[in-house]
C-alpha cells in the first residue's frame, strides 16, 4: 500500500477537487434580459426577478427599463447592434407595432395557460390578426374624474351625471376662486384619453369597432361622430372648466394643483391613486373620490378607457438556447401570486388575472366596480402613431382655441391619408 496507494489517493483527491472547483468557477451563468418600460424595478419587479432567479439556479435577470419617450431609440440601437434581447415588456402602442414588424415572437400555442388565467379583455388585447403576441401582466386600468368632495359639499353639489350638471358645478366652484378642473395638458399624449371617452359616447359605445373601420378607410375621421366627440372636449374649454393655462401643465404640476386643493377636479386614470396616497395630504385623501365621465347627451352612455397590463412578449430573434427560459419567465410573471403582489404595490383597481382582485384601496375598489365594467381599450393602442399624434395636436389646439372641431378632424384625416399613400394597412 504505502507509497503507491498514497500516490493514487492524492491523485484522486486532486482530480475530484479540481472537478469540483472548476465546475464552480466555470459554471455558466445564464443572463435573461428584460427590455421595456419597467423603469423603477426596485419598487416591485426586483423582488419578482429575485424569486425567479431562486427558482432557476444559474439564471440572472437583468432589467433594461426606459421611459416610454426614450424606449424606441434605445431599443432600435440595441436591436440594430445585435445586443442580447430576450423578453420585452411593452406598452400597448408599441406592442402592436412590434408584432406587425416581426419583432415579437408569435406565442400562439405557447401560452395556452392564459385561457384560464386571464380575463377576456386581457386575453384579447395583445392578439393581432388572430395571433397571440404577448401576455398581459399586471393591472387593468380605467378612467374617471377625481374630485375633492369638500368643494362639492361647499357648493351643495353631488356627483354630476350629465355634462350640463358638471358645467353648473364648475361655474359655482369657479365663483369661489377655485379652478374647477385641472389636467396635464402639456403632456400631449394624455389628451387622446378625452376623445376615447367622448367618442365612446358619440359612437354609440361602439368606438373600438368603428376605429377599426376608420383605419380600414370605411369611415372618415371627419364623420360627424368624431367631430361631435372632439367638439365636446372643446366645450370644457369654452365653458371655462379647465384651469387657466391647462396646456402648460405637466403631470407633476397638475397633480400638485389638485392635491393642494387649488382645483376641484382632475381627469385621469386609476394609475394616479398610488400617487394620491403617497404624496397627497391627509385632508385631500379623506376627500378625494371619483365619478364616471358625464353623459354628453341624455341618450349616451359613459364609456371610460383603460389598458390591460404590460405586454410581456419574447424577442423574435432570441437566442434559441434562451427561448424556453424566456417563455418560462413570462409564465412566471403572469402567475396569480406575482400579479397580486404587483397589484397591491401599484394599487391596481383590477388585474389581468381572473383570480386576482385589485387593490383593497376603497377608491380603487369603487372605480373597479363603477367604471371598469364599461371600460374599453385605449384607442391609441389601435391607431397608428401618426394618427395618434394628429389627435394629440388637434385636441390641444381645440382646447387652446386655435382650431374648431371640424378643422382638427380634417387635420387628422389629412395625416391619415398621407399614411395610406405611404402604404399603411390596418392589421386587426
Amino acid at each position: 500500500m504505502s507509497r503507491k496507494m498514497l500516490c493514487y489517493t492524492i491523485l484522486m483527491v486532486l482530480v475530484v477537487g479540481l472537478t469540483v472547483i472548476t465546475s464552480g468557477v466555470f459554471a455558466k451563468e445564464t443572463t435573461l434580459t428584460v427590455w421595456g418600460i419597467v423603469t423603477a424595478p426596485e419598487q416591485a419587479w426586483d423582488k419578482l426577478y429575485a424569486k425567479f432567479e431562486q427558482e432557476h439556479p444559474g439564471v440572472k435577470v437583468k432589467n433594461y427599463g426606459f421611459m416610454s419617450e426614450t424606449f424606441m431609440e434605445m431599443f432600435m440601437a440595441a436591436h440594430a447592434g445585435g445586443e442580447q434581447i430576450d423578453v420585452l415588456f411593452l406598452n400597448g402602442q408599441d406592442a402592436r407595432y412590434f408584432a406587425t414588424a416581426g419583432i415579437l415572437m408569435d406565442l400562439s400555442g405557447k401560452v395556452d395557460y392564459i385561457e384560464n388565467r386571464l380575463i377576456p379583455f386581457a386575453k384579447d388585447v395583445y392578439k393581432f390578426a388572430g395571433r397571440q403576441y404577448a401576455v398581459s401582466v399586471g393591472g387593468v386600468s380605467t378612467s374617471g374624474f377625481y374630485y375633492n368632495k369638500k368643494y362639492f359639499r361647499d357648493v351643495g353639489a353631488s356627483e354630476p351625471v350629465s355634462y350640463e350638471e358638471l358645467a353648473v358645478i364648475g361655474k359655482k366652484i369657479k365663483a369661489k376662486g377655485i379652478a374647477p378642473l385641472t389636467h396635464m395638458g402639456k403632456i400631449i399624449y394624455m389628451w387622446p384619453m378625452w376623445i376615447f371617452e367622448t367618442y365612446g359616447q358619440t359612437s354609440g359605445n361602439d368606438s373600438v369597432r368603428k376605429t377599426a373601420l376608420t383605419l380600414k378607410n370605411e369611415i372618415k375621421f371627419t364623420h360627424p361622430e368624431y367631430i361631435e366627440a372632439i367638439d365636446a372636449i372643446g366645450r370644457f374649454a369654452r365653458d371655462g372648466l379647465f384651469i387657466s393655462g391647462v396646456n402648460a401643465l405637466d403631470r407633476e404640476a397638475s397633480l400638485a394643483i389638485f392635491m393642494a386643493g387649488k382645483a376641484a377636479m382632475h381627469y385621469g386614470g386609476t394609475w394616479e391613486i398610488p400617487g394620491f396616497r403617497m404624496n397627497g395630504p391627509k385632508e385631500f385623501n379623506d376627500n378625494v373620490w371619483a365619478f364616471i365621465f358625464p353623459k354628453l347627451k341624455p341618450q349616451f352612455s359613459p364609456q371610460p378607457c383603460g389598458g390591460a397590463g404590460i405586454a410581456a412578449g419574447v424577442y423574435s430573434k432570441i437566442d434559441p438556447s434562451r427561448k424556453e427560459l424566456a417563455l418560462e419567465f413570462i409564465e412566471y410573471v403572469s402567475r396569480d401570486e406575482n400579479v397580486k403582489f404587483l397589484a397591491e404595490i401599484e394599487r391596481q383597481v383590477h388585474t389581468s388575472n381572473v383570480n386576482v382582485a385589485g387593490s383593497s384601496d376603497p377608491l380603487a375598489i369603487y372605480m373597479g366596480q363603477k367604471m371598469l365594467p364599461h371600460t374599453k381599450v385605449f384607442l391609441d393602442w389601435i391607431w397608428p402613431p401618426e394618427v395618434n399624434r394628429a389627435f394629440q395636436q388637434g385636441i390641444q389646439a381645440v382646447v387652446g382655441g386655435q382650431m374648431i372641431a371640424r378643422q382638427a378632424m380634417e387635420f387628422v384625416q389629412e395625416e391619415f391619408d398621407k399614411l395610406v399613400t405611404r402604404g399603411y394597412k390596418f392589421v386587426e
Partner: protein, 318 residues
C-alpha cells in the same frame, strides 16, 4: 520545415541592408512617425465615432427604414419628400429662421453690451461676471423645466410678479399661446447663452492693445468714435465666431423646445430637429428622419459659409 536559410550569409547581408535602410529612413522622418503615433488613437476614435456615423447616416437617409425591419433602398425619395412634400418641414425651418434671427441678434447684442459694462472698473465685477455666466453651465433640460414653471400661466412666477406690479395687461399665456410661444423660447435661449458670448467678447476687449486707443486719443477721437472706429472694428473676428456659434446653435435647437413646449401648441414651436425626432422615433421613419437631418446639415453649412465670407471681408488684424 527547414529554417536553415535564416542563417544563410545571403539572407544575413540582405537583412543588414534592410535594417540599415530602415534606420536611416526612421531617423530622417522620426518627427513624422512620432506625430502620427500620437495622433492615431484620437484619429481612430474620431473615425469610429464621428466620420463613420456621418457616412452611415448618409446611407440610412437613402433607405426606407423603421429601425426594426431590414432597410429598403429608395434612392433620393426621402430627400424629395423633405424638400417638396413636407409642409411641416418648411414650417419648422421658418421657426428655426425666426429663432436664429432672435437669438443671434439678442445674445450677441446683449453679450457685447454686458462685456463692455464689465470691462469697466466696477465694484463687484467678478461677482457679476460669475452670475451672468451661471446659466451657461446649467443643462438645457434643467433650464427648460425651470422656465416652464416660471412662465406657467396658472401659477408661474412671471405672471404672479406682473400681477403684483399691477401690470395685468402684460400677463400672457407665455408658452401655450401660439402667437408668443416661440418668442418665449427665444427669450429663454438668450437668457441661457448671453453669458457665454459675453465672456468671449470680454476676452477680445481685453486683448485690444491700448496703443490703438492712445493713437485715437491723440487724433482727438470722441468716446463714440472710440467705440465705432476702434472697438467694434477690432471685435469683428470675435463677432464672426460668436455669430457663427449662435447661428449653428439656433438651427440645432432641440432640447429646450422639447422640454418646454414639445413643439406645440399645434406646431407653433416646431423646429426641424423636433420634427426629425418625431418622424424617426415616434413614427418609426428613421430613414426619413435622417434625410431631414442631412438637409438641415446642408442648410447650416451653406449659411455658415455665407456668414464667414461676409464677415471675414471686414477682418482687421493687430
Amino acid at each position: 520545415m527547414d529554417w536553415g536559410w535564416l542563417f544563410s550569409p545571403t539572407f544575413s547581408v540582405f537583412g543588414l541592408v534592410i535594417m540599415n535602410w530602415w534606420r536611416r529612413f526612421y531617423n530622417k522622418n522620426a518627427i513624422y512617425f512620432t506625430a502620427y503615433f500620437l495622433i492615431v488613437p484620437a484619429l481612430i476614435l474620431y473615425i469610429v465615432f464621428r466620420v463613420y456615423p456621418i457616412v452611415y447616416g448618409g446611407y440610412i437617409s437613402l433607405q426606407e427604414w423603421d429601425g426594426l425591419r431590414p432597410m429598403k433602398f429608395i434612392g433620393l425619395k426621402n430627400f424629395s419628400e423633405v424638400l417638396f412634400n413636407d409642409r411641416l418641414f418648411k414650417v419648422s425651418l421658418l421657426h428655426n429662421t425666426i429663432y436664429a434671427l432672435g437669438t443671434v441678434t439678442g445674445k450677441n447684442l446683449l453679450g457685447l453690451f454686458l462685456a463692455l459694462l464689465l470691462n469697466e472698473r466696477l465694484r463687484g465685477r467678478t461677482i457679476f461676471r460669475t452670475i451672468l455666466f451661471m446659466p451657461v453651465v446649467m443643462s438645457f433640460v434643467a433650464v427648460g423645466i425651470l422656465w416652464s414653471w416660471i412662465l406657467n400661466p396658472a401659477f408661474g412666477l412671471l405672471n404672479t410678479l406682473l400681477q403684483g406690479l399691477h401690470l395685468n395687461f402684460l400677463i400672457r399665456e407665455w408658452i401655450t399661446d401660439p402667437r408668443i410661444a416661440l418668442y418665449s423660447l427665444i427669450g429663454i435661449d438668450i437668457w441661457k447663452w448671453t453669458g457665454f458670448h459675453m465672456v468671449i467678447f470680454l476676452a477680445a476687449l481685453q486683448s485690444i492693445p491700448q496703443t490703438f486707443y492712445e493713437a485715437a486719443m491723440i487724433d482727438g477721437a470722441s468716446k463714440r468714435q472710440f467705440f465705432w472706429h476702434v472697438t467694434i472694428h477690432l471685435l469683428v473676428p470675435v463677432t464672426t465666431f460668436n455669430v457663427l456659434i449662435s447661428l449653428i446653435g439656433a438651427f440645432n435647437v432641440f432640447d429646450l423646445v422639447f422640454v418646454v413646449t414639445q413643439g406645440g401648441p399645434f406646431h407653433a414651436t416646431e423646429v426641424v430637429l423636433t420634427h426629425m425626432y418625431i418622424q424617426a422615433f415616434k413614427f418609426y421613419r428613421v430613414g426619413y428622419g435622417t434625410a431631414i437631418a442631412y438637409t438641415l446639415f446642408v442648410i447650416i453649412f451653406i449659411l455658415s459659409l455665407l456668414q464667414m465670407r461676409i464677415m471675414q471681408g471686414k477682418k482687421y488684424e493687430f
